[in-house]
Symmetry: D2
Subunit: 205 residues, 4 copies
């Protein structure tokens, strides 16, 4: 296959990229100066070597001095008594950006499908249980915050995780909570759904 077509096919696998834009990426590179294209190609070839996944929270992080854990897991200033569960790296980044949480993270890797019985293996439920058990032992974990998007699959996963972690909870004074619900920035009362209004009334303060 023509290298232009071939590269376009590869770009087409990128999230949210269709055939036309994939092709446009190729022409973009053909018009760009060689040094940029060279740097990009090398950066892509190296990314998997320079970036590791933390075996504890599964965050991707830069590993220079052969550290086992990511910075947040190593940092003594991290509040080890609180663990926040997110679906994916982008969610974690966004929560970090808001600068309102100082504890530990755990990246689940995906949501639990509502239909199928068994949980896909990219959803790290076993790893989560193991992680929580360790945190309880090592740093007497006090709180687990389930921080998932508020859509059917997210709510399903929320319930799933509460059942999954309930046993560990009994054996310690561990609380499991979810992110608060109500009006979010931009919510117009005229258009908000009954569920949101219900939550907003329940959590009024």
């Amino acid at each position: 296959m023509n290298p232009i077509e071939k590269l376009a096919q590869q770009f087409k696998e990128f999230p949210g990229i269709g055939e036309r834009q994939a092709k446009r990426f190729v022409y973009f590179l053909l018009h760009k100066n060689p040094s940029y294209v060279d740097d990009l190609g090398k950066a892509i070839l190296e990314i998997k070597n320079t970036i590791h996944q933390c075996p504890s929270c599964f965050l991707f992080f830069q590993n220079d001095n052969n550290e086992r854990l990511c910075e947040n897991c190593r940092d003594p200033k991290t509040d080890k008594t609180s663990l926040l569960i997110v679906e994916k790296d982008a969610d974690l980044e966004n929560i970090k950006r808001s600068k309102n949480y100082k504890g530990m993270y755990f990246i689940l890797g995906g949501l639990v499908p509502i239909v199928t019985k068994e949980t896909p293996n990219y959803v790290r439920t076993k790893e989560l249980v193991k992680n929580v058990e360790n945190q309880i032992k090592q740093h007497n974990l006090k709180e687990i915050i389930i921080a998932l998007s508020l859509n059917p699959q997210g709510e399903h996963t929320d319930m799933y995780l509460r059942e999954l972690l309930a046993p560990l909870q009994k054996s310690s004074e561990l609380t499991i909570v979810s992110l608060g619900r109500g009006l979010s920035t931009g919510t117009e009362l005229e258009y908000s759904d009954s569920e949101t209004i219900k939550n907003a009334l329940k959590n009024r303060a």
Copy 2:
């Protein structure tokens, strides 16, 4: 002016209707059967006579037996110890639809502008104070719920109302609250703003 143009001009004043759609409304009527057009014209001429505005909560309601107050204000089953303040009728309707509130309402009529000093007279602040004073006297009002959209002007109005009602609060064990904040239906953590994340963490449960 040509009656088609003239009627189109009148429809153009309707909320969210531009020139083209206003014109389409006219052609729609010209093509419709006469009885529909007749009923519509009469219904519009009648609406202001059949619908009154409640002098207490300012809700529009059908007044057959020359009742002074709207049904919700009259209904003995209404919880008179709670008052919910909304911006406009459509907000109130939506909250009713969610079937999660059984108390009194007050329709403010608009939001308080952030820039201008004085409050426009379509925002019923004096009427609100009067209403709250009455509710305290007559049914020992216990809670005021400020239920405004979560946007800058809504938040500004929220603060404004709290200041406005503070004096009345002192002279009674009256609490003033606002709708809860956090994730609303459909909120994706990856895209939600820091304010929403902050509220969602603060109100976790």
Copy 3:
């Protein structure tokens, strides 16, 4: 039914208006000054009396002096040798706005469905044939311009009309044409479909 609900139901029949906006229209009227509401109601009641439909071109027009035909059909300056067929009044208005045509019009009233065999009676095919026959007799019509939107149903109707009018064409030196095709304002070559490119190449000049 509550008059607010009832009027909202009537507005809901307006083209492109959903339940929420219909309700908003009612509240808009309830807040408007009585004179506006009164004028609107009366204008709607009168529209069908003041506006007639031209029996020749089927345009809606204001009929004060009991004229039989619309102004364009009466006007001696109108080029009676050319007839332009459009689907609906709004199309005709838009073509007039472009000030590029001085001939006669005919409003078809709708497009011919592709699936069903028989043509719905709101599509004035019989009236069109009658009109064309008259124009040929009275003003030796020379050109018929089929001016329909460029979508499947429009193209189907175009072919349908050409077959319908072919017999009349034989008996006179009458030409039947359709609007030109090619790039329209805003067309980006990168995104335009093969059909448009084909027409643009064919009609290059």
Copy 4:
């Protein structure tokens, strides 16, 4: 800088890619299997070596046997008497896709700005003149088709090219045409602008 951030910065230069999607691309690669990432990186490093730009029409093409010209310029079956000028590769691809043109191409590289006096050097006007001169000499070029998007800058460039090529035209029976204008697929008469209607009427057939 963190390799994740660094690679995201590089992806951010891609056309139409913002910060968030650039970051998502990086996580996409981190989750992808190593072979895909490896292939992609190598393909990007290779692209500039395997793809050359035709010195005659400036199309990017795969150059295996060290050919000087692209396939279309070499192909004896190409109609050498017709030259079609497009803005960019994507336009040419789309025109090829429509399979309605068998002649030569010339990729201008950009449009001529309306405001600034001098033409930016990425717009290959000199190369175009040279190319046309050659085509006239070598294959007695008969027709130049200016095929630019129908927007202000495109129309400005169209006029600019006609002036630029006029001298060459005199010295030979060469015609210069532009793509036809009128209704394009999907055009609704009710919403089309006066310019489009004017063209559609002018080019009726």
